[in-house]
């Protein structure tokens, strides 16, 4: 195709190049040391501060030992439990249940959110119900689930699904709401009909909200699972982290209770850190939405 030479010396070519160079945004590189200082150090300091306050309360003997064990004691019992090896199956079982329940919630919540977000009548009918469900503490589902399914894995999973699906669906709905109408207009002009428009315009434009919904959905799934495991106890359900917590309560073992809570927290944080944080950052950054430093 005879594209004219850009005539290196000519004013228009140079002028454009100059304008582009002046206006285009430069990317600021950030080193590993800076990242460490900015995003790893502060949370570590916060944890250290909490531990210090805890230790102070312990030393001051605000409560007797068996009610408020010291951080060192809990650390010891945590190390002991990890070394003994019987918490690993508990962690494994709870995590696999949580992830399985979460994946199922994604598979159900995504089409649901897409339908509610794009079909007006459905939105008017189902939107408020979803918002209401999201506000309902998912522990409330445990008694009916147990009555319906008995103390079975099905009861646990149904609680997880009811906890996570509304968040995932509503995250997608709010993502869809934030799609600029101009994008849809451009998509139509480019020839994107219904499904092509959903695939090439609507979904990618709503992705940031959707990922936020996924993140929240995981939090709800994990919480719901723990609640269900604590309440619905049966040998047939094996030995999840919730069961471990219940066991600590029955034995009056505050050290074990604390160390189980720490484990539950760690799983939540790790999944967030390893899965959702990078996913969210990637989505935002590719759209030029994340700050350079995050």
């Amino acid at each position: 195709m005879p594209v004219p030479d850009s005539e290196p010396g000519s004013i228009p070519g140079l002028l454009e190049a100059g304008l582009d160079a002046l206006e285009a945004r430069a990317r600021r590189p950030s080193g590993a040391a800076a990242t460490l200082r900015r995003s790893v150090l502060p949370p570590l300091l916060a944890v250290a501060l909490v531990a210090a306050l805890w230790q102070a309360a312990y030393v001051a003997r605000l409560e007797p030992d068996w009610v408020l064990p010291g951080p060192a004691e809990v650390w010891q019992s945590l190390l002991g439990a990890l070394r003994q090896g019987d918490v690993w199956p508990s962690i494994g079982q709870s995590v696999s249940r949580g992830l399985l329940g979460f994946v199922a919630s994604v598979l159900i919540g995504t089409p649901l959110g897409l339908l509610v977000g794009t079909l007006r009548p459905l939105r008017v009918a189902v939107g408020p119900v979803l918002a209401g469900l999201q506000n309902l503490p998912s522990v409330a589902w445990v008694p009916p689930a147990v009555m319906f399914f008995g103390v079975t894995p099905a009861a646990l999973y149904s609680v997880v699904l009811l906890g996570a699906i509304p968040s995932i669906a509503l995250g997608l709905v709010s993502g869809l709401d934030q799609v600029p109408p101009l994008f849809l207009l451009v998509g139509r002009n480019l020839g994107a009909r219904r499904l092509a428009s959903v695939r090439h315009v609507l979904l990618p434009a709503a992705l940031a909200g959707y990922v936020g919904g996924l993140r929240q959905g995981w939090a709800f799934a994990w919480r719901s699972l723990m609640a269900a495991e604590i309440i619905a106890v049966s040998p047939s359900l094996g030995h999840g982290l919730g069961r471990l917590l219940k066991q600590a309560q029955d034995a009056g073992d505050m050290g074990l209770a604390f160390c189980t809570i720490i484990l539950i927290l760690c799983v939540g944080i790790l999944v967030n850190l390893l899965v959702f944080a990078p996913l969210e950052r990637r989505v935002l950054r590719s759209r030029g939405l994340a700050g350079q430093d995050t």
Binding site: P4, L19, V186
Partner: protein, 267 residues
Amino acid sequence: MTIAPSTAPAVPTAESAPEPAVRLSSVTKTYAGPGTDRPPVLENIDLTVPPGGFTCVIGASGCGKSTLLTLIAGLDEPTFGRIDVAGGHAALMFQDAALFPWLTAGRNVELALRLRGVRRAERRAEAERLLALVRLDGARDQPVHQLSGGMRQRVALARALAQQSKVLLMDEPFAALDAITRDVLHDELIRVWQETGCAVVFVTHNVREAVRLGRQVVLLSSRPGRIAGRWEVEIPQPRRIEDAGVAELAGRITEHLREEISRHART
């Protein structure tokens, strides 16, 4: 048809009298229901843009300039009248480049090709050719948020050209740019228009811009939007916005525009 520069002169010859690129016959658009006295947005518009023509539509805010383009683009239906577009489809550009921020510059162009059914193997080369046409050869892999406003509009132009329509509709595409960038893009647009041979309908409220670019300038009145004047611009391209001829004609058209606008103060 391809985007290849037409070797034939873009000016229609008298003997062959080709089909116009765009023809509006008595087009009226009203958003009011029957019985209400809201004036139509557009009333009885007759407009013909020849193949390879360049028509600028000017008018005050709210005169229905943008509505006119959405009608030609087929995004809305006229209430009365008839619109014919060569090839049945017109590409549309806005003041906001509206590039998809999750795609690179090159992928934005490729998406347009893909939605048109161009095979994967050909998309990449074609997108590259189009980006070169708007002088953005180096920007293919850049995320669009790293591009300047002028570069974004050039990507949007490449994306519009990727649709291979015979008609390009532009809705104040340079209004948000600074004067120097706009000036550069005027040159670029004229060059691309001459190379591709597509017909352009260009909406602006900037009279000088209209005279700088167009072969024909159409003035729309407001409420109802009617055609209040037409001028053929005989000044040969390349023109500059500061040319005496451009300034003189723009001055005359501005007089009419002012009259149109002050009419609304009296009623």
